[in-house]
């Protein structure tokens, strides 16, 4: 049966499944080896050195490729290693990239500090308006990198509309699809050339590993990515690949629950008197709800909101939660609460943060798989503590 005939929840379990031909183990083995024996000089069975390729990493790449409906993906040590390797594969000195202005802070840092030294320039534009993308194109532009929903304000970019522009100018379009995964959004079917995932997030789903992947149907680009990956040595490790492979199987089931919980919490937040506004693509109030419905299969499980009482109350809220965890990252089983302006986007210029809506009072929530009522109760007590100002860090810790 071809993978195309199957539903995503089946593909997540069986898609691209690599059979263990030796022991018929249900789970593919962990090949924790750096090197492989050759049959003769210049003759091997497809694997030579794990920096280049490894059977366990290969199994993960097939599984992700099945979800992306692409040839096997290329997996990397981290999401940032994926982006670094992609950009070094397609850009050289003098080249230019266009990047969503609302984007993970680490991606911005990579351009500002690493790629800038190599003579590569980038324009950070509001890609939610496709005219801005077109206007930013120069003869040196080689790639457009968008993140949709954007981190942390969930601003959306119309993938299909941007792809029409990039195609016309023969420029690559890469979409960082970390917030939704191919289960909820398929960038390549919407016209993008490249789908990027930080597998650290929903793909692993258990906060066990850090990793990244790139999927594309462009065979030449795939080949180039593999060449540059082995040259830079940014390949994912077998153990992390094995863990990620197990995580993928429950991805559709987890996402269903994640989204259900997020919808309940977002609606509750919106009616709460202490809350100034809520950004969640599933709410009627979300400015780009129509676009979300057009290109996403579900709104996802990331929520951003601000309290009426401002930045200090946001910090107090984070310091007062007892169930939600204060941590960077997202997409795991535990609900994580983050203060973007001081953590994930701390490296972004404060003035720029304000312009992008990443206010000092903004709170980002990655909704986990706890019962939504319990998270609501936790947030309720945290808001109360924050607003009345009685919460101290010490008290919060005694309760815990």
């Amino acid at each position: 049966m071809s993978t195309h005939d199957l539903n995503d929840s089946t593909v997540a379990i069986h898609g691209g499944r690599t059979l263990d031909s030796h022991a018929s183990s249900i789970l593919f083995p962990l090949y924790q080896t750096s090197t492989f024996v050759h049959d003769a000089v210049g003759v091997n069975k497809g694997f030579s050195y794990s920096r280049v390729s490894n059977p366990t990493v290969d199994a993960l790449e097939k599984a992700i490729g099945a979800l992306e409906a692409t040839p096997p993906a290329v997996c990397f040590r981290t999401g940032m290693a994926a982006i670094t390797t992609l950009l070094l594969s397609v850009l050289k000195t003098g080249d230019h990239a266009i990047v969503s202005d609302v984007v993970y802070g680490g991606t911005m840092r990579l351009f500002r500090v690493v790629l800038d030294n190599l003579g590569i320039t980038a324009s950070f534009v509001d890609t939610s308006d496709v005219a801005n993308v077109e206007a930013a194109i120069t003869p040196a532009t080689r790639i457009v990198l968008i993140e949709t929903p954007g981190n942390p304000t969930l601003k959306l970019t119309d993938i299909e509309a941007v792809s029409q522009v990039t195609r016309r100018h023969s420029i690559l379009l890469a979409v960082d699809n970390t917030f939704l995964t191919p289960i909820l959004q398929k960038p390549l079917d919407l016209g993008a050339d490249i789908s990027i995932l930080s597998t650290t997030k929903y793909i692993d789903g258990h906060n066990m590993t850090v990793g990244g992947s790139i999927a594309t149907r462009d065979e030449k680009l795939l080949e180039r990515l593999c060449l540059i990956r082995k040259t830079l040595g940014t390949t994912q490790a077998p153990f992390e690949a094995w863990l990620t492979l197990q995580g993928i199987k429950t991805l559709p089931a987890r996402l269903r629950l994640h989204c259900e919980g997020a919808a309940v919490i977002a609606r509750w937040l919106e009616t709460h008197p202490a809350v100034k506004y809520v950004l969640y693509p599933g709410l009627d109030s979300f400015p780009q709800k129509a676009l979300a419905e057009k290109q996403q299969r579900a709104p996802g499980a990331m929520i951003a909101f601000e309290l009426k009482a401002g930045a200090e109350a946001a910090i107090q809220t984070l310091n007062s939660v007892q169930l939600c965890l204060r941590a960077e990252s997202l997409g795991g089983l535990e609900t994580l609460i983050t203060h973007p302006s001081s953590t994930t986007h701390a490296d972004v210029d404060p003035e720029l943060r304000r312009r992008l809506g990443i206010s000092d009072g903004l709170i980002r929530l990655s909704v986990g798989l706890e019962a939504p009522e319990d998270i609501i109760a936790d947030l309720e007590q945290a808001f109360a503590a924050a607003v009345s100002g009685v919460a101290t860090k010490e008290v919060a810790h005694e309760i815990r």
Partner: protein, 384 residues
């Protein structure tokens, strides 16, 4: 404290309330923060991880440096070092370099306006002539791979610093047990930890050790920004491997010494490349800067076919790339590990096409010699 004691005497789990004798594997992506407005020691495993910290500190100590960094591969470590440069800068490298390093220099670095010059670092005058005002980094291995040529690292460090550049020494073929480049004046000691440090072919990893705060900050910045740090499980394997570093190398080196002697006296072997042979022109220099010649050696037979056949007939010597493991291995660099060296450079390097590189493991010495003996016999009698 002597080296053998230093290998195992370190705090495996600083501050851990259970006092484990082995470092816990913090197989986690992220860390909870005690407070919102101040970040604890760890926030995200790409940026820092407790298992990695123990390993990085341990390696810094073993290399007599101040800061250690672990990467997903040796190539990721080398790639990070090249990020210390910017468009317009130049690298001067010894001409006998690992093929993967050459590929990085010729296929990636040169796209960013960073020129790489190659010269024979054993000839300081010729080498110095290649230094320009743009030269920011000198990059060498010693002994080199695969010709086992020894470079005078003290002299090279002086020369580098006289020109205001940095010296990076790839110390993979020696390990911190046999050679400490930082003590000899280098600014950066680098390892493919896949080799001797790991020692069991079970981990792919890279290491950088420096002795300077400003350099450490730059390396850390790139490690975090590009996401190339080593994962916690591999850190654990490396921590375990390092404990037996001295035991393994002592045994491997003893075997290598006997095998080099055997090959050197074998009539079918044309030349043996090993700085541990007293007749080697590098013998004295190697003794002056390292504590041993290591356990990697190369030889020629006068025929590519014979060298190939030896590799295929040898039973203890697996045909693999890589070296430094407890298991012996054999490779033909011209067609395997160094296949990616540009043809022009390959010609300049005088890399003999019939060169075979062997890495000696911890098998019984007599078994290894008997195996090579039968393989050479079969390979040469087949030919005639």
């Amino acid at each position: 404290m002597k080296f053998a004691s230093r290998l195992v005497s370190f705090d495996p789990a600083p501050g851990d309330r259970f006092r484990p004798i082995c470092t816990p594997i913090y197989q986690t992506a992220t860390f909870e923060q005690e407070h919102t407005d101040s970040i604890g020691e760890y926030d995200y495993s790409r940026s820092g991880n407790p298992t990695r910290t123990v390993l990085e500190k341990h390696l810094a100590t073993l290399e007599n440096g101040t800061h250690g960094f672990c990467f997903s591969s040796g190539m990721a470590a080398i790639s990070t070092v090249t990020r210390l440069l910017r468009s317009g800068d130049e690298i001067l490298a010894d001409s006998d370099l690992y093929g993967g390093t050459c590929r990085l220099f010729s296929k990636v670095i040169d796209r960013y306006g960073i020129a790489v010059r190659y010269a024979d670092a054993r000839d300081p005058e010729q080498f110095e002539q290649q230094i320009t005002p743009q030269t920011k980094l000198l990059f060498v291995e010693s002994p080199t791979n695969p010709l086992l040529r020894v470079i005078d690292l003290r002299q090279l460090a002086d020369l580098t610093h006289a020109h205001g550049a940095l010296l990076c020494v790839d110390n993979s073929s020696m390990s911190p047990y046999l050679q400490n480049p930082l003590d000899l004046g280098a600014d950066i000691a680098l390892h493919s930890a896949t080799k001797f440090l790991g020692g069991h072919h079970d981990v792919t990893a890279g290491v950088i050790v420096v002795k300077n705060e400003a350099l450490a900050e730059q390396i850390y910045f790139v490690q975090n920004a590009e996401g190339s740090a080593l994962g916690p499980f591999n850190c654990f394997l490396l921590l375990r491997g390092i404990k037996t570093l001295k035991l393994r190398i002592d045994c491997q080196q003893q075997n290598a010494q006997a095998i080099a002697r055997f090959l050197a006296s074998h009539k079918q072997i044309k030349q043996v490349y090993y700085p541990g042979l007293s007749e080697s022109c590098d013998f004295d220099l190697q003794r002056s800067q390292a504590r041993g010649p290591g356990s990697v050696l190369s030889f020629t037979t006068g025929s590519v076919e014979i060298s190939k056949a030896i590799a295929e007939f040898a039973e203890f010597f697996h045909i693999t790339v890589s070296f430094g493991s407890v298991t012996s291995s054999i490779s033909l660099p011209g067609t395997m590990s160094h296949a990616s060296v540009p043809a022009k450079l390959l010609a300049e390097r005088n890399l003999p096409p019939d060169l075979a590189r062997i890495s000696i493991g911890i098998e019984d010495q007599e078994d290894l010699i008997a195996d090579l003996d039968q393989a050479i016999h079969r390979a040469t009698s087949r030919k005639s």
